[in-house]
């Protein structure tokens, strides 16, 4: 059956960002508990975070150009609501975590070095109290992103293994075409 799928570019973006964000969450939580690996993990953390921020912007534009396929018509309203709400949360957190990280370094007057001599300018004025607040927010939001990611992963597996409604395949398919719209299942 030729089920509807996300556009190929949307799928590429999704899986690329899935890898980057998962790696990022592990790098972030790992480096704050590691003495030996702190520096090299941090040197990946900053450019990877900025890359994620840039890719989220690309994705938001792409979402307008290539709207996601409709959810199956028989999906209960509660699940539809959960799907939409969790996607809003995912996008909000994907934007907020790197932005707060950038602002936090700015407030702490720590240079935002991407690679070699490539640096980003500060986006908030120096203020150590603000730094402390943003530092705590960065961790809290990252943990919220990890929790939302776990929900998203659980939902994806449920769609693929339990509901078997084609939603998982709409993102996981390797086929180039978008499939036939309006024929869920």
């Amino acid at each position: 059956m030729d089920t509807p799928r996300f556009a190929l570019f949307s799928r590429l973006l999704h899986w690329l960002m899935a890898l980057m964000i998962l790696a990022m969450l592990f790098i972030g939580i790992g480096m704050v508990a590691s003495l030996a690996d702190y520096h090299w993990l941090l040197s990946i953390h900053r450019p990877l975070g900025i890359a994620i921020l840039a890719l989220v912007a690309v994705r938001l534009v792409n979402r307008q150009l290539n709207p996601p396929p409709p959810l199956p018509a028989d999906m209960p309203p509660v699940l539809r609501f959960a799907a939409h709400a969790s996607h809003v949360a995912l996008y909000a957190l994907m934007l907020a975590v790197p932005l707060v990280g950038w602002a936090m370094l700015s407030a702490g007057r720590l240079p935002v070095v991407l690679y070699g001599g490539l640096e980003l300018p500060p986006i908030v004025p120096q203020d150590v109290m603000l730094y402390a607040w943003l530092r705590a927010a960065h961790t809290a939001l990252a943990l919220a992103l990890f929790a939302t990611f776990l929900l998203h992963l659980a939902a994806a597996l449920m769609h693929g293994l339990v509901f078997r409604d084609g939603v998982f395949a709409s993102m996981a398919s390797l086929r180039a075409r978008r499939g036939t719209p309006g024929r869920p299942g």
């Binding site: 790992g30 508990a33 003495l35 030996a36 702190y38 001599g117 120096q126 730094y131 597996l157 293994l161």
Partner: protein, 377 residues
């Protein structure tokens, strides 16, 4: 007539079929795997490992908590000035700071103690931390001490020494048995402390030599890297310390002396780069490099202004030794990453705490020519 069975929604989980149970089981296993890997990375599953949090916790256990102050080198004063490179450093490093021309510098003199209100005794390690800020970007931060080598070569050693040299609550003095036990298992620290005790101690902050202690790498424009260590060497002539008797000693006499010296005129230091040879240890800050290594005089630091710690000045800078410009890179010294990690925890904690004025205050500068009315008459 056979009636059609009611259409069962594929979204109904109850009563569960075998397929639903299997799907739920796999989903649960995958989630448990990811969450477990996360917990492992956080360190929940290895609570004994030494972390930056535990290092800073130990500082607080030894020194008490002094809100708003650094967990180490807590007592200090801010200075500003410029660094004028002479171009000689550019042979080994492409960092902008080594070109010619003046670079603004924000620095901090301090003593290597975690208590911000302790009177000066003359026995403390003195430090100079600097942030070089070239207009083109590429900030360089460094913290240096007036000792020839660092007492430990690993973070674990540092953590152990911190406990071994802590004052015993019963006596108020370190327990010699603890120190003996620590040195028995850390011969590198015994050797390094010998070198540290034998060093000439200057009369104050102004005439000291401050050493970067850890090895770094300079990277030139072709990408070639050279192991280096660096020092700031006072142009004021070295005068050996003669500690005043306890009664004659002002509680902040070291800092008062620095302020008085700066009120007479700017302080100057030469930035001396010591060039390592193949085989020189770069991963062990307890070991000096052999004498006779090439030294490059890379420029002159001029400090002409001193002020008490306050909002936005040196107080609010994390002198993380791994804030490095392109052209200076970390080495394989494990202390560098550990210092960077622990400084971050200390900075984050004190940043969010209420601030208390520093013990070191800078009096208003006296009139340059006493007796002459300020209006000029």
């Amino acid at each position: 007539m056979i009636s059609k069975p009611p259409d069962r929604s594929r979204y109904r989980l109850w009563p569960p079929s075998t397929g639903v149970l299997a799907g739920l089981g796999v989903t649960g296993l995958v989630l448990a795997g990811v969450a477990g890997a996360f917990a492992y990375t956080v360190g929940l599953l290895s609570p004994g490992a030494l972390t930056q949090t535990r290092i800073v916790d130990r500082f607080q256990a030894v020194n008490g908590i002094h809100p708003g102050f650094r967990r180490n080198h807590a007592k200090g004063v801010c200075v500003t000035g410029t660094f004028a490179g002479n171009g000689a450093g550019a042979r080994l490093s492409r960092a902008a700071v080594f070109g010619s021309g003046a670079v603004p510098v924000v620095g901090r003199f301090a003593v290597g103690i975690g208590k911000p209100f302790l009177p000066d005794t003359g026995a403390e390690v003195r430090s100079l931390a600097l942030s070089f800020r070239p207009a083109s970007g590429g900030e360089w931060r460094t913290g240096m001490n007036d000792i020839p080598v660092f007492p430990v070569n690993t973070a674990d050693g540092f953590y152990g020494l911190l406990a071994a040299s802590a004052a015993d609550p019963a006596t108020g003095k370190p327990d010699p048995a603890q120190m003996t036990a620590f040195l028995g298992t850390h011969p590198e620290t015994a050797r390094a402390l010998g070198l540290i005790k034998a060093r000439p101690v200057s009369s104050g902050f102004a005439d000291a030599r401050y050493n970067g202690l850890n090895a770094f790498r300079f990277v030139d424009s072709s990408g070639a890297s050279t192991p280096v260590r660096w020092s700031m060497v006072a142009l004021d002539p070295f005068v050996a310390q003669v500690p005043p008797s306890g009664a004659a000693r002002e509680p902040n006499y070291l800092f008062d002396g620095l302020v008085a010296r700066l009120q007479q005129g700017p302080l100057r230091y030469r930035l001396v780069i010591t060039v390592g040879q193949p085989g020189d240890p770069t991963n062990d800050a307890t070991l000096p490099w052999p004498a006779g290594r090439e030294e490059i005089d890379a420029g002159t630091l001029t400090l002409d202004h001193v002020e008490a710690e306050g909002p936005g000045n040196c107080r609010d800078i994390n002198y993380d030794p791994l804030v490095l410009p392109d052209g200076i890179a970390t080495s394989n010294d494990p202390l560098l990453s550990a210092r960077s990690a622990a400084y971050s925890v200390s900075f984050t904690r004190r940043a969010g705490e209420p601030k208390t004025p520093s013990e070191v205050q800078v009096p208003a500068r006296p009139p340059a020519t006493p007796g002459v009315p300020a209006t000029g008459g």
